[in-house]
Symmetry: C2
Subunit: 346 residues, 2 copies
Amino acid sequence: MEKITINDIARLTGLSKGTVDRVLHNRGEVSKKSYQKVMDSIKELGYEPNLYASLLARAEQKTIALLLPAHQPGTYWELAAKGEAKAQAAIKPLSLTTRQFNYNQYSADSFREACTRVLESNPAGVVMAPMFQYETQVFAQELQARGIPYSLIDTKLETPGYLSFYGIPAYKSGYLCAAMLIGEGPVKEVLVVRIMRDKGRQSDPTVLRRSGFMDYMLEHNPGCTIRSLFIDPEDPAATDDALDAFFTEFPGVRHIAMLNSRIHLIVPFLERHPADIRVVGFDNLDANLDALKRGTITALIAQRPEEQVHQAIQSLANRIVFQRFPEKTDNYQHMDILIRFNAEDY
Amino acid sequence: MEKITINDIARLTGLSKGTVDRVLHNRGEVSKKSYQKVMDSIKELGYEPNLYASLLARAEQKTIALLLPAHQPGTYWELAAKGEAKAQAAIKPLSLTTRQFNYNQYSADSFREACTRVLESNPAGVVMAPMFQYETQVFAQELQARGIPYSLIDTKLETPGYLSFYGIPAYKSGYLCAAMLIGEGPVKEVLVVRIMRDKGRQSDPTVLRRSGFMDYMLEHNPGCTIRSLFIDPEDPAATDDALDAFFTEFPGVRHIAMLNSRIHLIVPFLERHPADIRVVGFDNLDANLDALKRGTITALIAQRPEEQVHQAIQSLANRIVFQRFPEKTDNYQHMDILIRFNAEDY
DNA sequence: TGAATTTCCGTGCACGGTAACGGAAATTTT
DNA sequence: AAAATTTCCGTTACCGTGCACGGAAATTCA
């Protein structure tokens, strides 16, 4: 019942606590025989180290690095960055901090460069939202070689030995998006708006979302024409023109979806040309939520990115401080459906 | 930059750490002059106690009491009870545990009795899901008198000095429920199924939900007939008969809602008499989720009760260990909309 | 004024682990 | 076989607080 301490196993094995400590942290200088004896009685007595005593004696601050795409205010990655603060508060009593590193999500070079900055900071763990398959692999290998645990959020790339993943299922989210878009009745024609810049190099989740979207259409609403329109997020005027041209050509379209967080880009146009259109997009950016509350956007599929970074950081903290591994490696999270009547408390 | 310790302020004030410690925990035996000197230099140096050292030296486990309605497997309060485990893991490093006390949600006597059991256990904090306005007030006053902080979940009753509240907005949840039930088109006739036992003494959230439901109807779907049907949760056969009788009398009804977690009770009937009926209910009980995935239930409004207890416990832990108060007292949480396409990862 | 209290405060050990230091024992080298 | 290493281990001084104990100083009592 009473707590087993390092002294108890020292006494039991006839060794000193110095030796016991050495085996606990395997920092060598212990004979195989002693090592075995200590390990045995640790198991026998069910010894668990006292966290406070340990932290007090070390008194050293470890840090967890956060590797995220750089973000402008009002964009998706800003939401994730906000999760850092909450997580920080939670892990502070564990003598841990976080530090954020950013990269340009459209440049592999910048990602590589950020990776070396992360390594230079000598982190105790890394949380990353990866964008580049190959570069991420290389980085993951380096982390593994150095024995630095890491977790993934948002995008699950196939990298060796990640501790955990947190994100929504990309394929299913596209499927859900289609379901929300179609609503009850069958639909003849829908528009999927896309981002120009993504045309060349599509991110992994975007591709999967599209395929989920398409599959829903095939299964539940076949014979529907799916039209695409590419817009430039940097150029609102051109976006307006593009939409104008589109609706001149296809005036019957009453269903619009976007498979990323930028749905707010078409809101100004829609509000200048009111019509009874179902509009579905992703993520709880302020601009999206506002349009949702006004009724311009019908539904949003949201994923609590703050929660994702929080959880990822927490799992690393458990690993680093307690040597505890998460129960599940892949944690697919709930996709929140937001409509105007439940957006307020989000 | 380097940490200020108790010794630093001892040195600065020319007193000993023993004295400093006495003022820190105001356990008396200190002259006013010394007290003032210590307080001043604490402020001056910005001293913050070292949590580990403190916990290590005390080595005493405080406990947070959880006061919840007793629960059968597969009922709502079981979900909340599950949150206890998660919270427990989170606060363990803070030398805190939780302990659950249950009461019969239909008996004020049993609630009172549970309250005295809680007090006898001498908890450092209390989380409760209250059902009885008056008894809860009395209990809250007692807690306040003893200086025991407490938080509320689920139902926000007006009690003095609670630390925090976590739950969904009851009125709005009824409103949302109606919105999900009606869907796109106007509806002529809906059925709201209710629980017999609740007829006499309706809980606070149920009343508010009903009023939100009604208001939505008035505002968005006026002229709709709202029919009620009472069923007995203990008697499936009677439930079936009642539904049978109802649909014989009103065969046109194609919309059913229930404003509590028991929607699964009518699922067997619905599956024996297939028809294209929209069915909306509350909470992610396994039975509800299963019916949702099968398509019998159209939508569920869920509220993550585990999260609510987790958060409430966390806020108490911060209060107890760090003397930190939550930013917001009333934390209304997001109402999750579950449909068959996003139920899987919930 | 001396004795008896009371008030106030310093000392020192305990909490459980960490890691530097130095030395004995075992092993290798010359 | 003595010297030089290497391997292995015990000792010890912390880390920052909590708290019991005892004693000096101030106050009250006789």
